[in-house]
């Protein structure tokens, strides 16, 4: 039977069979169904994303701007210390507010000079037990003059490497002439010097968190040579450097002063955490919770290398105050904070002892403290 249907071009009817009409309708329905499913799927996904975003924004608002200034400050300084999450506090705070938060949560600068007489390095065969309150059960390994302890706190896990002979500790670099080429991974720097262990060192240009680790910031002295001074030789850097007597000197010094003090190996970062046995003065939480690295020295000359994991569920990170607590517990007389975040790594005999932040392993860095 013939059925008249309207032509889409006007009122001119076209003659179609019933079967054709049915087939046409079926195709139309299938297309409509597919469109409907696609639209609904997209709507669902977008809605989920929007809900998650709104929930995160609401939670963030309560955390940053809510009733707890302590939590807001901690989150702010923690994120400001990172490269990738710096933008988050900006959503909730103005620049002036962030500056005020940073000002009330920091470690005060110290002008104290390292008293080298407080370090008495034992000669071979004269080693005497250091005065620490460290439990022996924290010892992970002890061999070849190196002890590695597990460090644990309320919000962090990490490792403390104690090198009994300070003359074995020096600065390793990715190359003597720093340029735009990428740095090396920590194990590569350690292997470059034929060393057995190492920790990441000083800071480097890292704009947007994607720096290639090729250019260090601040003073770099390796093997008695000043390799980088980032500016004039009179520019003050906060430095941790070993002099020729293997005493770790911590504090501000220019490149010229480093040379005059006989510094053989030095790196810059800061702040100074312990100077002459006294903890640095802290304000508020002192800093955020992040992975951290520090170097220090005990009264008997043993070098302390502390690395803390962070940004994971099992280890959120440590503040500067936490670092000071651990360093003093291990008997540090002088100690300096080094570069942290995704750079914080401890390498010992072909293994990275800590987890690190980057899933693919170590990031490229220009400098490290190595143990020969």
């Amino acid at each position: 039977m013939m059925q008249q249907t309207k032509s889409p071009r006007g009122n001119r009817p076209e003659k179609q069979t019933r079967a054709q009409v049915r087939a046409q309708r079926a195709r139309l329905k299938r297309r409509q169904r597919i469109r409907r499913i696609a639209w609904r799927s997209a709507l669902s996904v977008l809605t989920v994303i929007a809900v998650v975003l709104v929930a995160a924004l609401c939670a963030g608002f309560v955390a940053f701007r809510g009733p707890s200034q302590t939590v807001g400050d901690l989150l702010t300084v923690s994120m400001l210390e990172t490269s990738a999450l710096k933008f988050v506090p900006r959503i909730y705070y103005s620049d002036a507010e962030m500056a005020a938060i940073a000002a009330r949560n920091q470690v005060a600068d110290t002008d104290s000079e390292t008293d080298t007489s407080m370090i008495v390095i034992s000669g071979p065969g004269e080693e005497k037990p250091a005065e620490t309150s460290v439990a022996a059960e924290n010892l992970v390994l002890s061999e070849d003059g190196i002890d590695i302890y597990r460090v644990k706190g309320a919000t962090y896990n990490g490792f403390m490497m104690v090198v009994h002979d300070p003359s074995r500790v020096g600065v390793g670099v990715c190359r003597e002439n720093f340029n735009s080429k990428p740095g090396l991974q920590l194990h590569e720097i350690v292997q470059r010097y034929g060393a057995v262990a190492g920790i990441n060192g000083g800071g480097f240009a890292d704009s947007g968190g994607v720096g290639n680790g090729g250019r260090p910031i601040g003073l770099v002295v390796s093997g008695g040579k000043v390799l980088n001074k980032s500016g004039a030789s009179s520019e003050h850097n906060v430095v941790a450097g070993f002099n020729r007597d293997n005493v770790l000197i911590v504090g501000k010094m220019t490149a010229a002063e480093a040379e005059s003090k006989g510094i053989r190996d030095a790196l810059s970062f800061g702040p100074a955490l312990v100077v002459n046995g006294e903890a640095a003065s802290v304000k508020g939480s002192s800093s955020g919770l992040n992975p951290r690295t520090a170097i220090g020295q005990r009264a008997d000359g043993a070098v302390l290398m502390l690395v803390i994991d962070g940004r994971t569920a099992s280890s959120l990170g440590a503040t500067y105050a936490d670092m000071i607590t651990v360093l003093l517990e291990y008997g540090a007389v002088n100690a300096l904070n080094l570069d942290g975040g995704s750079s914080s790594l401890l390498y010992y005999k072909d293994n990275y002892m800590n987890k690190g932040v980057i899933l693919t392993g170590s990031r490229d860095i220009p400098t490290a403290f190595v143990v020969r």
Partner: protein
């Protein structure tokens, strides 16, 4: 079938209003019958009817008639769609959960913040910032020991030190998780340190609460105080344990006591029913040349003090001089009789007559052996002194008797024995008898 023409449906042809009304009435009054389920034929007929209606509507739309309201139809489909019902339901649920979560998080953070030690530190710091040194004196542990009661000096010194200078405070490093330490600075100098410790209580959500631990100012030193106000002198005072002592208006406390439970007599020396007074000795320091010391008993009566050595006083049972002078002769005679008994010059029977039956003195006399005394011609006494006659009651007193007991032998030699007795004498009727005796 009538066409719909946009107006109210017209009365079916051939039916009058009256008949329609009658039909309605019949329908109301007639017993209700169960509705029949439409049969297959009725369902098919209805389907054909609906299809015809749609076709007619399409044709009418094609001729330019009124179009069906597409919008209303789509809205009706949206709300009827199961997907959208679920979608909007879940969206509403998510909104509610976000609100609940936000409120919960707000509560958690509020509780956490309220438990932070910084707020307690703020309160303590206000004492310094407002220069409330009177209140600080009560909290400052070093002030109590150094200033030694000179609160006015303490306050004045603190005001001098802080005048015109900025007072600031900051958290200092503390190795212990159970302590927060704060430094207070005046200008660039450290002025004081105070600590906070856990109070033992928790907030409603289980966060640890804090309280003030210690306050130490390291400003006023002992040397400065001594140089300014003069050296302090140490004093001692011994009083009955139920008495209170005030020195220059400030009461001495148990912490000032250096000895307690001091007794003047051996235990059980007095007859039962008479309690020997126990004394407490206090030590204190004062810059005053003559500190004003006052002792009051439990009833508030002021007690007399007597000197008990250099820079020392005692208040308690004392020698009754009047009584002593009146009865010294009899007391001395009794003591000498006892001495003679010990040398065998007085019989036991006679001596027992001077003692209270079944008293400690009676027992002592019974058991005493006088083998120690050498054979002698006679005994005499020199330098007899009676002292410390203390009346414990109307019928009991103790005293101390000393003398030189000299025994002269037949060869003419003399043996002198320095003797001291502490005696407890009680009145029995009209006579005084010995109750207890200690030979020193």
């Amino acid at each position: 079938m009538s066409e719909t023409n946009g107006t109210r449906r017209a009365t079916p042809a051939g039916k009058t209003p009256a008949k329609a009304a009658a039909r309605r009435t019949a329908a109301r009054t007639a017993p209700r019958r169960a509705a029949k389920k439409p049969g297959a034929g009725a369902t098919a007929f209805r389907g054909i009817l609906d299809r015809a209606k749609r076709l007619t509507a399409k044709l009418a739309a094609g001729r330019g008639g009124a179009k069906a309201p597409k919008k209303g139809g789509k809205r009706r489909n949206l709300l009827q769609s199961r997907f959208y019902r679920v979608y909007f339901g879940l969206l509403a649920l998510a909104a509610v959960l976000i609100v609940i979560g936000t409120v919960w998080l707000n509560g958690v953070l509020r509780d956490y913040e309220s438990a932070q030690p910084i707020h307690v530190a703020d309160e303590v710091a206000k004492i310094f910032e407002e220069q409330d040194f009177d209140r600080l004196y009560a909290l400052d542990s070093s002030a109590q020991s150094i200033a030694g009661g000179d609160q006015s000096f303490y306050v004045e010194t603190m005001r001098d030190i802080t005048a015109g200078k900025e007072i600031a405070w900051s958290e200092a490093f503390s190795a212990s998780e159970d302590e927060r330490r704060y430094n207070v600075t005046v200008g660039s100098d450290r002025f004081a340190t105070f600590t906070l410790v856990p109070s033992g209580e928790t907030s409603p959500r289980g966060n640890r609460l804090w309280k003030l631990g210690t306050v130490d100012t390291n400003v006023v030193t002992q040397t400065e105080l001594d140089e300014t106000l003069g050296e302090r002198t140490a004093y001692r005072i011994t009083v009955p344990e139920n008495c209170t002592v005030t020195v220059d208006g400030a009461a001495l406390t148990a912490e000032d006591a250096v000895k307690t439970g001091i007794t003047l007599l051996p235990e059980d020396f007095l007859p039962s029913g008479i309690d020997p007074v126990k004394l407490t000795q206090y030590a204190f320091e004062s810059r005053s040349e003559r500190p004003v010391v006052e002792v009051k008993d439990a009833s508030g009566a002021v007690q007399a003090l007597r000197e008990d050595g250099e820079n020392a006083w005692i208040c308690g049972p004392e020698d009754n001089a009047e009584f002593r002078e009146k009865y010294a002769g009899g007391i001395a005679k009794l003591a000498q009789q006892m001495a003679k008994y010990t040398s065998g010059d007085v019989s036991q029977r006679e001596m027992l007559r001077s003692a209270v039956d079944d008293s400690p003195a009676y027992t002592l006399i019974k058991r005493f052996s006088n083998y120690w005394a050498p054979t002698h011609k006679y005994a005499e006494f020199k330098n007899v002194q009676v002292s410390d006659c203390i009346l414990w009651s109307d019928s009991c007193f103790t005293c101390h008797v000393t003398f030189d007991f000299i025994l002269r032998t037949r060869r003419g030699t003399e043996q002198t024995y320095a003797t001291a007795y502490t005696m407890c004498v009680v009145r029995r009727g009209s006579t005084a008898k010995l109750y207890n005796l200690q030979m020193n």
